[in-house]
Amino acid sequence: MTATAGNDPKTTAALAAIGRSPAKDDHSEGMSYLESLPRKTVTVYIPLFIIVVVLLFPFYWMFITSIKPDQDLLDLHGGNPLWVSEPTFRHFYKLLFESNYPTWLWNTMFVAVCATFLSIVASVLAAYAITRIRYRGAQSVGGLIFLAYLVPPSILFIPLSTIIHVYGLFDTPFALILTYPTILIPFCTWLLMGYFKTIPYELEECALIDGASRWQILVKIIIPLAIPGLISAFIFAFTLCWNEFIYALTFISSNPNKTVPTAIVSEFVDGDVFRWGSLMAGALVGSLPLVILYAFFVEHYVSAMTGAVKE
């Protein structure tokens, strides 16, 4: 039995893959024993440490600034500016209770969730149609969608702003909810196409024979199997929305409708020398939701990032 199975080329390939994967995953294998610890310290650990410190320092500085009392902020040479002797939460208090910050946070959240949801629905349908229904021209439509991903918002915002005016959406959240999907749909479609391609055809054929419609197949078979892909797409799209700046800056003008990134840049910069504390607190609180989301879904995030590139 085993012998016959082994002769099948497919099975051999599968066995080879199984045999290969532990060596790849188990990093103690390979040639790493050739490296001694002192050598590795110099060639790997020290450079890595320096890069990580540089990458993380701005966040540390943001945090320290946001809990420093005002007089310490402006007195660099009095003590050690990298440490705080008397931390204060005044900046956060000011931010959360004496400014519109909670409104901005809510706007950002609302816009991001709506735009992401719309884009995912549209992308699931489009990706399914391109990979599985294979209508005439599906390949070229896939290519066009990829090209759409390469069109940057910086060349669209001026004509879009006139269009937004004509549609009467200016200074409403809908201006953002409807324009963000143009950034998200190409990305999500491309990502989901990759996921849908990995789902075996046979499942779908069985369902078709049993009389399921395409819609039922999508809802009952494809979507449940593509949940990890959907989570990746959702998280990445949500981050992109939260991050978006130029559309929010151009299409929203009144203070209570702003999103966090635009509000931070325009509302806190008032020429006051004491603005830094609340500015940093605002930046920190504005990043927090994304960092928390990221902490829970690191793997999905990385697969979204690399999946979109690999295709």
Partner: protein, 321 residues
């Protein structure tokens, strides 16, 4: 009980011709059309149409609140003679080139470092990605504060190390050249994680047995990298760098949050200049013309990486013969 099972099944309805409605429901092309409809509606209304409209506007003298008149190439002729525009164009190219090159070098180096057998590897990898997660504007604001003219922590560090004198602080954001360096640095800082993590994903697909074989054949570390890693990584490098160049070239938020194009317009990128002229100045036509002048450069970047990829395929094809 058995009655139900024994009862004759109802007579089958006669086979009918497919109606137009059935065609719409079942025909492959129509089905595809229905499924594509939402995505296409968004992309046509808010991407293709504005792109066309932007092209049209760049040939008009449109202002805010007034439809423009067709003026031909006047906007572009005007721009070429505008020293601010030329300066922005040159800085955009320098910015993109320097930032992308450094990002690529450090990103690849970081990816190679992370590809080693490390303790807490997954944790380090997640930490490295944080600059990419945090909204650009918010980290740009942090850089703005780090490089503040009066209270810069960098200046403090340099003073402590005795490199500069306490009485003469460095005017980071006030000096045109230094401001340019600072925004390039911030862009590099923000871009490294993306490049490093995507290249790391590419590195992990390279089978270790290739390195073992090469090492047995006497290859040095550098040769291992040059003749094994690099060729296998070329396709992913091409894609990653296309994205990187594209997003660096069209960067807006970093500059806007840190310098707004100042001091003396030294750090204007084309995108920020287009915003300043088009939206703040109200000259929509001119702003659109600036934005449209980015397109040839973007196409060049895409073509460059596309042919990079093609050459790769062609080489592989040749090897297979």
């Amino acid at each position: 009980m058995t009655d139900a099972a024994l009862a004759r099944p109802p007579a089958r309805p006669p086979v009918r011709e497919p109606t137009a409605w059935d065609q719409l429901k079942v025909n492959r092309n129509w089905l595809g059309f229905w499924f594509m409809l939402p995505a296409m509606a968004f992309l046509v209304l808010f991407l293709v149409y504005p792109l066309g409209k932007g092209l049209w506007m760049s040939f008009t003298d449109a202002r805010i609140g007034r439809e423009g008149r067709f003026v031909g190439l006047e906007n572009f002729e005007w721009l070429i003679e505008d020293s601010d525009f030329v300066r922005a164009l040159v800085f955009t190219i320098v910015f993109t080139f320097v930032a992308s090159a450094v990002k690529f070098a450090i990103g690849l180096y970081l990816a190679l470092l992370l590809n080693n057998n490390l303790p807490f590897k997954a944790f380090i990898r997640s930490v490295v990605l944080i600059p990419f997660i945090v909204p650009t504007v918010l980290s740009a604001v942090a850089f703005w504060w780090i490089f503040d003219t009066q209270f810069s922590v960098i200046t403090w560090g340099l003073v402590k190390m005795g490199i500069i004198d306490r009485g003469s602080p460095i005017n980071w954001m006030g000096d045109p050249f230094l401001a340019q360096c600072v925004v390039i640095f911030a862009n590099i800082w923000r871009g490294i994680p993306f490049i490093a993590i995507t290249l790391l994903a590419g590195l992990q697909t390279v089978s270790p047995s290739l390195y073992e074989a090469a090492t047995l054949d006497g290859a040095t570390k550098w040769q291992n990298f040059r003749y094994v890693t690099y060729p296998l990584l070329t396709p992913i490098i091409a894609v990653v760098m296309t994205f990187s160049v594209l997003f660096t070239f069209t960067d807006f938020q970093l500059i806007w949050a840190m310098t707004r194009g100042g001091p003396v317009n030294a750090t204007h990128l084309m995108a920020t200049l287009s915003y300043q002229r088009g939206i703040l100045g109200g000259n929509l036509g001119e702003g659109a013309a600036i934005a449209i002048s980015m397109v040839p450069f973007l196409l060049a970047a895409i073509m460059f990486s596309w042919f990079g990829l093609q050459r790769r395929k062609w080489q592989q094809g040749e090897n297979n013969d």
